[in-house]
Amino acid sequence: MNRPLPLGWLLAAVILVVVPAALWLFGSAYAARLAQLVLITALLAAALNLLIGTAGLLSLDTVVYYGFGAYLTAILSTNYGTTLPTEILAAAAAGALLGGLIGWPLVRLASIFFAVATMGLATIFHTTVLNWVDLTRGPMGYRGIPAFKLGEFTIDGWAGNYYVIAVVVLGGVWIVHRLTHSYYGNAMRAAREDEDCARAMGLSPHALKLQAYAVHASLMSVAGALYAHANNFLSPDNFVLLESGLTLTAVVVGGLGSLPGAFIGALVVVLVPELLRPLGNLRAFGFGMILFLSILFLPRGLWSEVSSLAFVRRHLFREGWLKR
């Protein structure tokens, strides 16, 4: 049997069984919190990967939709006592809508213009949450966000939190997986590589990019919803441009356009700064060095799109899902 490993199932098994088992064994709330942050970051990285890796739009606006979903959830659950399904749906729908509206003019912009415009969005968002005190409670932050609620049940404790996050994140990553590893993904990649040529093939790059943008906004908004509950606390400082940079780092270190890379990248950006704590005031220096060296020596990231796509295609061919 020369079948490649079923990577998706393997990943799901690790996230749903192995990690919780390890956490339970060591009983560490600290490790559990890091695991939750890794998962949420992985969803952000996967969504950003869809945008940068597949649709080719270099974007720095992660914090806009992440923060939007987080604040939306904080406001809904604190003031209206909403439950998890409502919040996830609300965050997904409102995120997609906001992304669609903002994306409509923006995705027309070429390369660097788009990147700078999204950088601007991030700053505009931060200024807004910082100063619109009536809505966001301003710099004090939003405290006392209740725990996840599913119907009448309140999900408390790290294990419950972890599972809610794991299931939603896996769902989100599955969506990105479907979109990228399908003919739809091919169409997006064509629009990324050569817009004129894609149009000559009957594709509408603007529509494809706009859809990618709206989906990424929607998923990030869902990630924000998870974060709001997992943290019980939001402050505008969570949504500064630098945090967008961290997600971008996760994507680059993990490998552009690759979903396993999104998880690897998330592991790196969440755990490396934690491991570097003993460095004290050299910590940021160390992080910069690691970032720099990884770009220098791993220009394609730890798990690049090429290898991951080849991997999946081999798998599909063997399974006979695609004809050669």
């Binding site: 479907r178 739809y184 064509a190 000559a200 509408s204 295609r313």
Partner: protein, 253 residues
């Protein structure tokens, strides 16, 4: 024979310069028409107007009886006009298979919902896979399906471009200088291939510099010079035309 493509007094001006000036001709179903002319004659401009890359200044284009003047490229493609590019435009960072599939996708369409829930679009997916495989096999690219397009040889990239256009299952194929940069043997093979496509019933409009090839494969030739149409007829007829000879005087062919 009815006209598949009709070009009626097409003009395109650039900053007052008349790159194409009231050109009219037609392409019949199943016909292989060559569009030639010296450098700067306006061949590529006519080509781009048909493909929707440029909007005509004046005049009308009709395809299959319907007006397509000024349509966007993707709309023209959706109606069944596929094109290749003069300078290679393969997608270098994705595989040969994926390159060709883009043409098939353009034909069958994809949707967001279908990508998420594949069972909704099983038929469509199969159609894309089938036409991709057919096009790959026809051009002998099946063995390279998994390689990145950027790693192919120049000749293979040319073939890939045509395969991708064909995966669109067009009614009309626009070829923009397909022989440019190919050596003698490759040009020969290309000529055979183009002829085969035409024999299989495809309508083709060929813009080409390689005069012997054009003369040999085309059913009819249209000649432009300085934006104007100066001849339209069978190869032998065009070859004998005084105006064409005058236009090409000093030209190396």
């Amino acid at each position: 024979m009815s006209s598949l493509l009709e070009i009626d007094r097409l003009s395109r001006h650039f900053h007052g310069l008349r790159a194409v000036d009231e050109v009219s001709f037609g392409v019949n179903r199943g016909e292989l028409v060559g569009l030639i002319g010296p450098n700067g004659a306006g061949k590529t401009t006519v080509f781009n107007c048909i493909a929707g890359t440029l909007a005509p200044t004046l005049g009308e284009l009709r395809f299959d009886g319907a007006r397509i003047t000024g349509f966007a490229p993707e709309r023209v493609a959706a109606l069944g006009i596929a094109r290749t590019f003069q300078n290679l435009r393969v997608f270098p960072d994705i595989t040969v298979y994926d390159n060709v599939s883009v043409g098939a996708i353009g034909r069958a369409g994809v949707s967001f919902a279908g990508a998420l829930l594949p069972f909704l679009e099983r038929g469509r997916t199969r159609r894309i896979a089938d036409s991709t495989s057919t096009a790959l096999e026809r051009f002998g690219l099946a063995a390279h399906a998994g390689t990145l397009a950027g790693n192919l040889s120049y000749g293979q990239k040319k073939l890939l471009e045509i395969a991708r256009a064909l995966a669109l299952e067009p009614k009309l194929l626009l070829l923009d200088e397909p022989a440019a940069g190919l050596n003698g043997n490759e040009t020969e093979a290309l000529a055979v291939l183009v002829r085969d496509l035409r024999d299989a019933g495809l309508t083709i409009l060929l813009v080409e510099h390689d005069m012997p090839m054009v003369m040999r494969v085309c059913d009819r030739i249209v000649v432009l010079d300085s934006g104007r149409l100066i001849a339209d007829g069978a190869p032998a007829q065009v070859r004998a035309d005084a105006a064409v000879r005058a236009a090409y005087l000093g030209d190396d062919s």
